[in-house]
Amino acid sequence: MKLGAMKPQRRNRLLLILGLVGGLGLALMFVLKALNSNINLFYTPVQVIEGEAPIGARIRAGGMVEAGSIRRSDASLEVAFNVSDLAGAAFEIRYTGILPDLFREGQGVVATGRLSQDGVFFAEEILAKHDEKYMPPEVAMALDTTRQDSMQP
C-alpha cells in the first residue's frame, strides 16, 4: 500500500510511529555509545601483573595498600605505593595530588587511571570512602578470589 493512498489520519499516525521508533533508535544508539566509551573495567592485582589489564586504557584497579610501601617526593605531591591482594600479587600505583583521609597502609583502595608499559599504574583518582568499615566491593572480590585460589591445592 502506497503512503499516498492511505487515509490522511492513518498516514499521520504511521509517520508518527515511524518517527518515534526512528528517534528512539537513534537515541538508544547514542546512549549505548556513550555508555560503552565510559565503561571502566576493574582489575585485580593478579590480573595486572599477569598482563591481563590493557596498557594505556582507562581502567580501575585496586587492592590493599602494602605496609611500608608509601613513598613521597620531596617538594611535590607525587606519591607512590604498592597495592596487593594479600596473597603475593602486588603492583605500583603513582599519583599526584591529595589522597583521601582514609588512605593508609592496610586499607583497601580503588584507583582509576592508566597502566603504563612498565607495569606502573598512573592514577587519576583514588576512591575515597566515608567509613573505615566500608570495603569497596571490588577490593573485597579481589581478596576473595585470591583466598579461594589459594585454598585449592
Binding site: L35, S37, L41, F42, A75, L77, I98, A128, H130, P137
Partner: protein, 662 residues
C-alpha cells in the same frame, strides 16, 4: 527499661498498622462505614507508638546507654549533644526507624486532611499506606532492630559517630530526604486506591496534587542539602559525582517532577490519565529501589553509610511484590482509562507531554548508567565495571538543555491550543536582551565561554518569559499591583520553581566551566597563584575541639595585593575512633567561593593544600531552595486549602473551572 518499652511501642505500631490494613478491608467488604473509618483513628495510633519508640532510642543515645548495640557503635560520651540525637539516623537500623516514623507522619497527615473524600476511597488510600507501613515495620523488627541489647558484655565507651557525620548536614539532610522518599508513597497510594476502587476520575488527580508537590519539595530540599553537605564536608570541593547513591535519589526526583506536571494536565484537562497513574507508581517504586541500592551496598559508592548486604535480600523481597503487584493492578485496570479529550500541538498539554518525555527519558538513562555495572557483572560472570561521569554528562545535559528551551515557550502556552502570536510576541526583543546579558555574564567571569553564553541565554529567556507572563496577567487591569498580589499562589509557585531551574543551571555551567582547582605543595611562607588570586600559607597550629584535636592551618587569599580573606582549614583527629578528617574552610563571595582544604602533612611543616576557586557555585543550591519553596507554596493555593479543611461529608469533588488559571 525505657529501651525495651520503645521496642515494645514499635511492635504495637506494627500490630496497629496490620489492623489498619485488615479492619477497613473488612469494612469495605461488609460495607461497614464504622470499620472503614477505623483506618483514620488507627493512623494516629501508629504514629504515636512509632514516635514513642523513636523517643526511647533518642533517650538511649542521650543517656549513653552503650548496652544498646546500636548506640554503642554510633555514639560516644564525648559526642556533642546535637550529634547524639542525629546519630540515631546515622546508620542502617536507626535510619530505618526514622523511615518508619516518616511513613507514620505521612499516613497521619493523609488521615487528618482527607475528610471530604468518600469514606471508602479514604479507607482504600489509608489501607495502601498502612500496608506499606506494615511491611516497613516487619523489616525493621525482623532484620534491623535498633533496640537490640549487647548483653551481658557491653562496652564502657561507645565507638563514636563517624566524624564525617558529626555535622549539621546529618541533622537535616536525612529527615528531609526521607520526607521526600516516603512522601512519594502518598500519590502512589492514591493511584493504587483509585485503580482498586475503579474511581480514577479527575478528583483523584486533584487530591494527589498537593501531596505530590509537598513530597517533591522535600525531596528537592533533601537532594540540595546533600549536595551542599558533600561539597563542604568531604573536602574535595565537588557538589555532584553521579554516584550510585546520589542517582538513587535523583531518579525518583526526575519521575516525581514529571508526575507533578502530568498531574496538572490530568486535573485541568483530564488528559494523560493512565500515564499519570503509571508515573505515580514508578515514582515510589524508584524511591524503594533507591533504598535497596543504598542499603544493600551492591553498588560502589563514595557515600556508602548504612550498608548491610544481608538485608538487601529482604528489601528486594518487599520491593518485588509492591512494584509487581501495583503494575499488575495497573495493567488490569488502566486499559479502559482512555482519555477522550483532545488537544492541539500548540496547547499546554503538548508542552507537558514534552516535559514528561524528556524527564522520563533522562530518568531512564541515569538509571541505566547506575544499574549497568550490576547487569554487566551478572552477564559476564563477575567482571566489575564502573560507569564514569562523562556518560551521565553526555546523555543528561543535552536532554536538560532541550527541556529548558521547551520551558521558555511553555510559560506562554494555554490549555488545548495556543495562538501563535501569543507564543512569539516579544521573543525577538527578549532574545537580544538575554543574549547581551549572557555575554556580559560570561565576560565578567573571565575569558568568554560558549557554554556559559548558551546556558545563560536559556536561563535569562526563562526568567524573561516568566516575567512577561506575570505582566500579561495584570496589564489590562485597573489596579495592576493589587491584581499581581491576588494572583493564585500556584502561579507564584510555578514562577519560583522555574526560576529556580534557571538559577541552578546558571550556577552549574559557570562552576563547571570557570572553576580553578589546584593541589599544592606548600611549606610555611610559600605562596601560589591561582586565577586572579594569590594564596599564602602560614603553617599550622595545634588546636583542641570537644572530641578531637586538630592541625589548623592559616591561609591568606590576596587579590591585587590586598588580603580579602584569611581561612583556617583543619585536619582533625577524632579521639574516640582515631579517624582523620578534613574540615575545609570556605570564603563565600558574591561571585563565588574560595575553598581551602588541608591534604596531608608532609616534611618540615609543609602540607598538601587544596585550593579551589568556584564561581557562582552557591547558585546551584540557591536554585534548589527556590524550587523547593515553589513546591511548598503550591500546596497553600486556595483551591487545595478550601476542600481539604472543609469538614463536610461531600462526595467526590467536581473539578471547578477557574478563569485565573487560564
Amino acid at each position: 527499661m525505657i529501651v525495651e518499652l520503645g521496642h515494645f511501642c514499635v511492635v504495637i505500631a506494627c500490630l496497629l498498622a496490620f489492623l489498619q490494613v485488615v479492619l477497613p478491608s473488612i469494612g469495605l467488604k461488609q460495607n461497614s462505614l464504622q470499620l472503614m473509618a477505623s483506618a483514620s483513628s488507627l493512623a494516629y495510633g501508629v504514629f504515636v507508638f512509632t514516635l514513642l519508640g523513636f523517643l526511647a532510642l533518642i533517650y538511649a543515645f542521650l543517656m549513653d546507654d552503650f548496652s544498646v548495640a546500636y548506640v554503642a557503635s554510633h555514639s560516644n560520651t564525648r559526642l556533642p549533644l546535637q550529634f547524639k540525637v542525629s546519630a540515631l539516623w546515622s546508620a542502617h537500623e536507626g535510619s530505618f526507624l526514622l523511615w518508619t516514623l516518616v511513613m507514620s507522619i505521612w499516613t497521619m497527615m493523609v488521615a487528618r486532611f482527607s475528610a471530604p473524600l468518600t469514606t471508602d476511597m479514604r479507607a482504600r488510600v489509608l489501607i495502601c499506606l498502612a500496608a506499606l507501613g506494615f511491611g516497613f515495620y516487619l523489616f525493621l523488627l525482623l532484620t534491623s532492630n535498633p533496640f537490640e541489647r549487647a548483653l551481658p558484655f557491653f562496652p564502657a565507651e561507645g565507638a563514636d559517630l563517624n566524624p564525617l557525620l558529626q555535622d549539621f548536614g546529618l541533622i537535616v539532610h536525612p529527615p528531609l530526604l526521607y520526607m521526600g522518599y516516603v512522601g512519594l508513597s502518598v500519590p502512589f497510594a492514591f493511584a493504587i486506591a483509585s485503580l482498586w476502587g475503579n474511581t480514577l476520575d479527575v478528583s483523584w488527580a486533584r487530591w494527589s496534587r498537593p501531596w505530590t508537590n509537598l513530597a517533591w519539595a522535600f525531596l528537592t530540599m533533601g537532594i540540595t542539602l546533600g549536595s551542599w553537605w558533600a561539597y563542604y564536608e568531604l573536602g574535595w570541593g565537588g557538589w555532584w559525582f553521579w554516584d550510585a547513591v546520589e542517582n538513587a535519589s535523583f531518579v525518583p526526583w526526575l519521575i516525581a517532577t514529571a508526575l507533578i506536571h502530568s498531574l496538572a494536565a490530568t486535573e485541568k484537562r483530564g488528559v494523560f490519565k493512565s500515564w499519570t497513574v503509571l508515573l505515580a507508581i514508578f515514582g515510589f517504586s524508584f524511591s524503594l529501589l533507591g533504598a535497596f541500592l543504598v542499603r544493600s551496598g551492591v553498588l560502589t559508592s563514595v557515600h556508602a553509610f548504612a550498608v548491610d548486604p544481608e538485608r538487601g535480600a529482604a528489601i528486594l523481597m518487599f520491593l518485588v511484590p509492591v512494584i509487581g503487584g501495583s503494575l499488575l493492578l495497573y495493567s488490569a485496570r488502566a486499559w479502559d482509562l482512555r482519555s477522550r479529550v483532545s488537544f492541539k500541538r500548540s496547547g499546554r498539554e503538548s508542552f507537558i507531554l514534552g516535559n514528561n518525555v524528556l524527564l522520563t527519558v533522562s530518568a531512564a538513562v541515569v538509571l541505566l548508567g547506575t544499574l549497568y555495572p550490576l547487569g554487566y557483572e551478572a552477564l559476564t560472570g563477575g567482571d566489575k565495571i564502573s560507569i564514569g561521569p562523562p556518560y551521565f554528562n553526555a546523555v543528561f545535559v543535552p536532554l536538560m538543555l532541550v527541556l529548558m528551551a521547551l520551558m521558555i515557550l511553555s510559560h506562554r502556552s494555554r490549555w488545548w491550543a495556543t495562538e501563535r502570536s501569543l507564543l512569539t510576541a516579544g521573543q525577538g526583543v527578549f532574545s537580544v536582551i538575554a543574549g547581551v546579558a549572557a555575554i556580559g555574564l560570561s565576560v565578567a567571569m573571565g575569558p568568554i565561554k560558549l557554554w556559559i553564553v548558551g546556558v545563560a541565554w536559556l536561563a535569562m529567556m526563562i526568567v524573561l518569559n516568566l516575567g512577561y507572563e506575570l505582566y500579561r496577567r495584570v496589564r489590562l487591569k485597573s489596579n495592576p499591583v493589587r491584581r499581581l498580589l491576588s494572583q493564585p499562589l500556584a502561579v507564584y509557585a510555578m514562577v519560583l520553581g522555574h526560576a529556580g531551574i534557571a538559577v541552578t543551571a546558571l550556577g552549574i555551567v559557570t562552576t563547571v566551566m570557570m572553576s580553578e582547582e589546584a593541589d599544592l605543595y606548600m611549606a610555611p611562607g610559600d605562596r601560589a597563584e591561582l586565577g586572579a588570586f594569590d594564596v599564602r600559607f602560614y603553617g599550622t597550629k595545634n588546636v583542641e575541639g570537644p572530641n578531637y584535636v586538630a592541625d589548623r592551618g592559616r591561609v591568606e587569599v590576596l587579590r591585587e595585593g590586598e588580603v580579602i580573606a584569611t581561612l583556617y582549614p583543619e585536619k582533625r583527629r577524632y579521639l574516640a575512633s582515631q579517624s582523620i578528617m578534613t574540615e575545609a574552610d570556605i570564603h563565600v563571595r558574591s561571585l563565588g567561593d574560595i575553598y581551602v582544604a588541608l591534604g596531608e602533612p608532609l616534611e618540615n611543616g609543609a602540607w598538601a593544600v587544596r585550593v579551589h576557586i568556584k564561581p557562582l557555585v552557591r547558585f546551584i543550591w540557591f536554585g534548589g531552595v527556590l524550587i523547593a519553596l515553589g513546591g511548598v507554596l503550591s500546596i497553600f493555593d486556595r483551591r487545595y486549602r478550601v476542600p481539604m479543611l472543609r469538614s463536610s461529608k461531600q462526595g467526590t469533588l467536581a473539578p471547578s473551572v477557574e478563569a485565573a488559571h487560564g
